[in-house]
Symmetry: C2
Subunit: 269 residues, 2 copies
C-alpha cells in the first residue's frame, strides 16, 4: 500500500515498546495502521515499510506490504481503512502484489527537506517545515550538495547505532532550490520562501538526510564553507558533520521499485 | 499589523463571552492577541480587524489596528509578540500608521476557498482545505461564478443576522481554477488536486464566500445548473442558495487600503 502521513504526533514508523499502553508515549504509524487493518479484516498482520521514518518525519509516498488471508483490495478497501484511520494517516492506494514483493527492497528513494525562511514562521507550515530565523545562501548550499552525487561511503553522515552491512550508497539527484510559499497561503513577498533540499538515491543511512540538512544549514548561514560536505564524506567521521536537522522539515516523497506491471501503481505518486 | 493565522483551534476572530474562562470554549484570535500585547506592553488595547473571520477560518493577510501609549514598532516588536504568541497566530509586520487609519475601512478584500479532491484527504492539507469526495466540474463552476462580477445585491448569499446598512457589493475578480497539490507533499497524480475559488471585491457579507462556495460545490458535482448563481442573486433569498461551505476551506488572503505611503507595507503581502 501507498501511504501519506503527517508525522507530527507520532513516535515514528516503528512500534515502540509501551506505545499505546503508557499514555504519555506517542503512538506509532505502524501500530496505528496494524490496529486498523486488524479491526477491519479480523486478522493480525505484520507491516513492513520501505524503511522506518523517525518521530516527527512526514511521508507523502511511503510504501508498506503485508500478508492477508482475506481477499480485499482496491478502492473500497482503501476507503474502509481511511474511514477508520485518523486524518493524519491515509492510504492513497492498496493493491495485491506478487508474493515476491518486499517493500524494503526498493530501487530508489526520494527525500525532501524543507526550510521555511522569513520574518516569522507561517502558521500553516509550522509542522511541515523547519523555520530558519536567518536567510540561507541557497547557491552555496546547492553547490555544496553536488559533492554527494555518485557512489560514496556516507559513514560521515550516518547516526551511531545503525546496523547495516555497508555504508556505501549511490545518489542520483541532489539539489537545493528556493521555492515560493505554497498555497493555500497567499504571500508573494520574496522575503518569505521555502528552501528545499532534494536527495534521490539507492538508499539512505540512519538520519543521513537530516545530518546532511543540518550541515547544509550551517553552510547556508555562512558558518562553514561549502567544501565541508566533501571533507565530511572523505573523513567518514560523523563528528565532523553539523547537528542533525529537526525532523519536521523532512519528507519521504517517493519510493521506486522498477517497472513490473504488478507494482506500477506504486510508481504513480 | 499584518497577521497570519491557522483558525482551526479558534472560535474565530472575535472574543466570545466566556472564552478563556470556561475551559471547553475555544480561544479567539482577538483575545489571544490582546492578551499578548498587554503582556508585552503593559497596556490594555482594543484590536479592530478588517473584518471578523468565523471559527475555523484561516488568514494569510488579516489586518488589525490598535492604539498604544508606548512607542514600539518594527521588527523587534513583531519578534517579541511572535515569541509570546502560539505558532498558530503570527505577526508578519507591525508599524505605526496615521491616526486616521481604520482597519475596517478597506478598499478591497480577497478571499480564497480551497477544495481538496482525490481518492483520500491528504493529511497535510486536512485542516487547510475541504476534502470533497466527488470530482468537481471546475469549468462549470468557473462559468457560474462569472455572474458575480460587478455590482450586485448579495442578499441571497448573506447569512441571517447580519447588521449592515446595504447588501450591495462590487466584485472585481471571480474565478475557479484547478491547481496541483502544493509542496511539501510530492504528488504529481492528476487525480489529486486542489480546486480554488477566488473572490476579490469591495466587501463581503456574513458567510457570503462560504455560501457561494457551498453553492458552487453543488454545481461542480452536477447537482444544480450553473445558472443558479445568477438566479440566487436575482431572488435575493438565502433559502435558494446551497449549504454554507465548511470553514476549514476558507482563507482571508489580503486586505487592500489604497496607495498611501504610510500604509504601503500592508499591501506587500
Amino acid at each position: 500500500m501507498l501511504l501519506a502521513y503527517d508525522g507530527t504526533d507520532y513516535c515514528g514508523w516503528q512500534i515502540q515498546r509501551g506505545t499505546g499502553v503508557h499514555e504519555n508515549r506517542r503512538p506509532s504509524i505502524e501500530g496505528t495502521l496494524t490496529a486498523v487493518i486488524q479491526e477491519m479484516c479480523g486478522e493480525s498482520v505484520t507491516l513492513v515499510a520501505s524503511g522506518r521514518t523517525d518521530a516527527g518525519v512526514h511521508a507523502s509516498g511511503q510504501v508498506a506490504h503485508f500478508s492477508l488471508e482475506a481477499k480485499r483490495f482496491g478502492k473500497h478497501f482503501a476507503e474502509g481503512l481511511n474511514s477508520l484511520l485518523p486524518p493524519s494517516i491515509q492510504v492513497l492506494d492498496v493493491r495485491p502484489v506478487p508474493n515476491s514483493f518486499r517493500a524494503q527492497r526498493s530501487v530508489e528513494k526520494q527525500y525532501s527537506y524543507y526550510f521555511q525562511q522569513g520574518p516569522a514562521p507561517l502558521p500553516h507550515l509550522r509542522t511541515q517545515t523547519y523555520w530558519n530565523r536567518y536567510d540561507l545562501n541557497v547557491e552555496a548550499m546547492d553547490g555544496a550538495i553536488q559533492s554527494l552525487l555518485g557512489e560514496h561511503d556516507f559513514l560521515g553522515f550516518c547516526a551511531a547505532g545503525a546496523q547495516v552491512s555497508t555504508t556505501v550508497r549511490t545518489i542520483h539527484e541532489a539539489n537545493v532550490i528556493r521555492i515560493p510559499i505554497p498555497e493555500p497561503a497567499c504571500l508573494s513577498l520574496e522575503r518569505f520562501c521555502l528552501v528545499r533540499i532534494r536527495l534521490r538515491g539507492t538508499g539512505f543511512l540512519k538520519q543521513m538526510v537530516r545530518n546532511i540538512a543540518g550541515t547544509l544549514r550551517e553552510i547556508g548561514e555562512g558558518r562553514r564553507p561549502p567544501e565541508d560536505i566533501k571533507a565530511i564524506l572523505d573523513s567518514k567521521d560523523r563528528k565532523n558533520a553539523g547537528p542533525t536537522g529537526s525532523p519536521e522539515g523532512l519528507w519521504l516523497d517517493r519510493v521506486f521499485y522498477g517497472d513490473d506491471d504488478d507494482i506500477a501503481f506504486l510508481n504513480q505518486v
